[in-house]
Amino acid sequence: MKYLPLVWNGLWRRPARTIFTLLSIAVAYILFGILSGIDAGFAHTLAVSRMDRLFTDSRFGAPMPLSYAEQIASVPGVAVVAPRSGLFGYFQDPKNSVYVLCADRRFFSLRPEITISTPQLETLLQTRTGAAVSAEQARKYGWKVGDKVPIQTQTAQADGNQVWTFDIVAIVDDLNYPGGGGWFIANYSYLDEGRVTEKGTITRFLVRIRDPERGGQIGHQIDKLFANSSVATRTSSERSGAQSGLQFFGDVNFLTGAVLGAVFFMLLFLSGNTMLQSVRERVPEFAVLKALGFSDRSVLSLVVAESVLLCLLAAALGLLVSKLIIPIARGPLSDFLLLLQMPWTALLRGLGLALIVALLSSLLPALRVKQLKVDALVKRQ
């Protein structure tokens, strides 16, 4: 610790060089922080998709009869079955697309992450045209509790009208997806009594199973029930669905991995070169230190410490800046992906990588200093 001033002064011997090196490492770490934030968002999406939640969908798109619910419930290991259907539509402008999810009480027991309170839920169930919306969507369209919201759809009611009007009875936060996404939940009975076609049908059953390990097996059993029915089903766990969904953006893990690999390769050269130059210039100084009685090991550690200090300082700076950027960038990016603050593990991994870069890039210069012969230097002077 007492050599810190020595290391510090060595670092700032040529301020321009140190600053440029520092900045380029810091910039790389801004990128690292943002990419970690994207990765964290994907990991979050996967983590909240539960293994004990199965989705039973129609195998070929045709809607399933509501009566499937009882048959699914009879499969051993199934705890709750929640049917749901939906209306595709928009609010005022075709660009404001809204998906009206139509379900009943069972749906909320399967989706505990929707923090609807018991009074709110009871109001929703008792109001035929009621709707609970996410805070996100309410903010987007300026809806308040008590508003009547017309949704233009492709589904006709008995009188031919394709506009369905809902009463907003609750605005609810979604713990799963803070600051992102939006949903609109209404009563299945309103939809099914109102529509003329596809009456008594369902587009998806959500199934809670008792043992998450048996998801595949139970899914198989459900699908076997309907294999020879008019509408065959396909059951998958929420997790595998999320995995396929994330593929929409291609292989994000590969992309971030490849970019980070390239960045660290670049850093290795950059800081390695800086250390090499710095040591080359200071050969006489190191020789003096040795002449003063510094051991080979201590001059070696001086060089390594300098490199470590440089890299960690730069990494910390970059990570700090990316932490500040992430909340600003989240909004504009929310249409594309969920950008979360990087987790502690990513932070530590980043600093760990900085340490590795520092050690590798000081290896050559440190060895050079260690092998320095004092007499050779004195002669050179």
């Binding site: 321009a16 060089r17 440029f20 090196t21 900045l23 380029s24 490492i25 910039v27 790389a28 801004i30 990128l31 943002i34 195998r59 070929f60 798109g61 045709a62 595709f88 928009y90 075709p94 660009k95 697309s97 233009q152 492709q154 509408v231 065959a232 396909r234 998958s236 595998s240 995995q243 396929s244 593929q247 929409f248 953006f249 291609g250 992309l255 490849a258 970019v259 390239a262 960045v263 390769f265 670049m266 050269f269 950059l270 070169n273 800086t274 090499l276 130059q277 249409d335 594309f336 992906l337």
Partner: protein, 390 residues
């Protein structure tokens, strides 16, 4: 004038010749730029390949009709009556047999498995009308035979065949009313259709027990006939539909993914580029101080400041551009022509010369930024001090 140009050239060559003496520092620029350009081009190759596929799909003399307010084919519904009315509208090209070139289409999402990672994906099975192939002359059968109406048969696009399991000619695709046989495969100018399955729309509708189409696509007499067609459709009170030129419809559909990919490329490339520029600044300042004596000598014997500035800038640019060339070539070798799947759409990554030019231009800008300040410092170097220093 000529003499000063010659002097500038002489100083520049002198600087460039000394690059091997500062190999380590010079490599920082070369490697930095190579990585920046390689990463940026690789990400952009996705967006370029994707847009190329989208661009190949659309024709300005085709129009697509969706129900009013629908943004996607899957969200649209057009009744049989409406489809017939649309087909009779003026502005549509008439085929040799006297029928308008119109295809009322019905889509089914077919669950398939990606060969590379075993994950699920949904492909579109497109039911096309009898005029569907007159409408899309770009579709050419490459193996097997065409599907026959009223039979459970379909044909598979080349890209879908390559990327997903079990879509070989002769294979079976399970649908609501049993297995459908793949009778042939087709290519279609590398467009979106190549990621689809095609079948007869009437057969498909009855198999799915459906009675409404998703969309109607028509061939216009000329690209300018769109207005005539649109006006006629809008004037018909029985229709509540939107008419869009096919090219515009596809551009709108692809905007989201394209914006996403381009944004990622520029953000990542921009940040990495900034880092590489700092590296270049570092290297060039080092180069200037290593050449301080030489530069001071040149200035003392009458070489102009401009000559010095040019020589330093040239060194930075030569290093940056050679790095960029390495990066661009590497990206081209690794990625050009690779098949890539996003959702159910397959496209080829593309690294066209324009993208390589973009990479080189980017590196030029970065190299210029990295060389400019060191060059100015070199030109301002106090001659006497530099000479006395040694």
């Amino acid at each position: 004038m000529l003499a000063s140009v010659r002097r500038i050239a002489a100083v520049t060559v002198m600087g460039l010749r000394a690059i091997p003496d500062r190999l380590g520092a010079s490599l920082v620029i070369v490697i930095g730029m190579a990585l920046v350009v390689a990463v940026t081009i690789s990400i952009l190759s996705m967006s370029v390949g994707f847009m190329r596929t989208v661009h190949n799909t659309g024709r300005i003399d085709r129009a697509i009709v969706l129900s009013h307010g629908s943004q996607y084919e899957f969200g649209s519904a057009i009744s049989r009556d409406n489809a017939l009315t649309i087909g009779d509208a003026p502005g549509i090209k008439i085929a040799g047999d006297g029928k308008p070139i119109v295809s009322a289409e019905y889509l089914v999402a077919v669950l398939v498995t990606k060969t590379s990672d075993g994950l699920d994906a949904y492909l579109s099975l497109r039911g096309v009308g009898l005029e569907g192939f007159a409408l899309r002359p770009e579709i050419k059968l490459v193996s097997g035979r065409m599907f026959l109406p009223a039979r459970h048969e379909l044909i598979v696009g080349k890209s879908a065949l390559a990327q997903f399991e079990g879509l070989e000619v002769g294979g079976q695709v399970p649908l609501a009313d049993g297995d459908w046989t793949i009778t042939g495969s087709f290519e279609s100018n590398g467009d979106e259709r190549e990621s689809e399955l095609l079948a007869d729309s009437e057969t498909l509708l009855s198999a799915m027990r459906a009675n409404t189409f998703h969309s109607v696509t028509v061939m216009l007499q000329t690209p300018e006939s769109l207005e005539q067609f649109r006006t006629a459709i809008a004037a018909n009170p029985t229709l509540a539909v939107d008419v869009t030129r096919e090219t515009e419809f596809l551009a709108d559909q692809s905007k989201y993914l394209n914006t996403f990919l381009t944004m990622i490329a520029y953000v990542v490339g921009g940040i990495m580029g900034l880092g590489a520029t700092f590296g270049a600044l570092n290297t060039m300042y080092t180069a200037v101080s290593a050449r301080a004596l030489e530069i001071a000598t040149l200035r003392a014997i009458g070489f102009s400041g401009v000559a010095v500035v040019v020589s330093v800038l040239a060194e930075s640019l030569v290093l940056a551009l050679s790095g960029a060339a390495i990066g661009a070539v590497a990206a081209w070798i690794v990625f050009n022509g690779n098949l890539h799947t996003v959702g159910g759409l397959v496209f080829r990554l593309a690294v066209p010369p324009s993208l390589i030019a973009l990479g080189l231009a980017f590196a030029f800008a970065l190299g210029f930024a990295g060389g400019l300040f060191p060059a100015i410092r070199a030109a301002r170097l106090p001659v006497a001090d530099a000479l006395r220093a040694t």
